[in-house]
Amino acid sequence: MTAQAPTIPRYRLAPPTEDDALAMLARVLGVDQAAATWLGACRDAGVRRTDAGLSPAELARVAERLSKAAGPTGVIGSSLGVRARTWLLLNRGGA
């Protein structure tokens, strides 16, 4: 499941995806707990998941929610947030 946002050419930066987020979480939580944590963060952020995947802006909102969690999960949320914000800012700037 991937969002349909483009790679930013000059920076060679692809937008982060839900798959990226789940893989990051699975490394510290295991696959099942990662999926449950992600679903909970989506729900708490008011983001509805679809087959098309989340947009980078939606992903940034979920990451912001995730960053409030305790322990490594919060650190992962912050990291994901930096990646999503970087893509959004550079995309907005026409890079």
Partner: protein
């Protein structure tokens, strides 16, 4: 106790737990480390400085001085662009005198698109031996760094770690 001389796995769970325990990714951390970042830039006569926290996915700017544009707003970058990640992985200072010719960074977008040309970063090592990130200075013109300047940066990095350790709560400092 982690051996800081071993190559660091940026995604190591124990390291991420250390970053979480020290609560380094909150906005209030900037107030605690800002003065140190500012002093580093001033004493080395460079326009930018950071206290960075590096994970396997992103570097987060816990404190910064002189940043503008998207980097200031994003408050970090993807790890693959992070100069600081080199110092964290190796546990050694990382110095770039001319980014345009340095083999590790010359194709980095922060160099080709954002104009970074010089960098010096000192790893921030906790009492438990985890390397969190760096205190670093950044410039837009090529330059060298003297031993005295690197000593200054080390002293300020030690101060940053002291301030960070004060966040641990239990008084674990050695």
């Amino acid at each position: 106790m982690v051996d800081p001389k071993k190559s660091v796995d940026l995604g190591d769970t124990a390291r991420l737990e250390e970053i979480a325990e020290l609560d380094l990714l909150g906005p209030e951390v900037d107030d605690i480390l800002q003065a140190t970042a500012e002093e580093a830039a001033e004493r080395l006569r460079l326009p930018m400085s950071l206290v960075s926290v590096v994970t396997d996915q992103a570097q987060y700017f816990a404190a910064h001085h002189g940043l503008t544009g998207w980097m200031r707003e994003a408050r970090g970058t993807p790890t693959e662009w992070s100069f600081c990640a080199n110092a964290v992985r190796s546990g050694e200072p990382f110095v770039v005198e001319d980014a345009a010719t340095h083999p590790l960074v010359r194709e980095n977008p922060l160099v080709t698109e954002d104009g970074i040309r010089c960098y010096a970063g000192i790893p921030l090592v906790t009492v438990r031996g985890h390397i969190l990130g760096t205190l670093c200075v950044i410039g837009t013109e090529a330059r060298s760094f003297s031993e005295d300047e690197m000593d200054t940066l080390r002293t300020l990095a030690d101060r940053a770690v002291e301030r960070i350790e004060e966040r641990r709560g239990g008084g674990e400092q050695s």
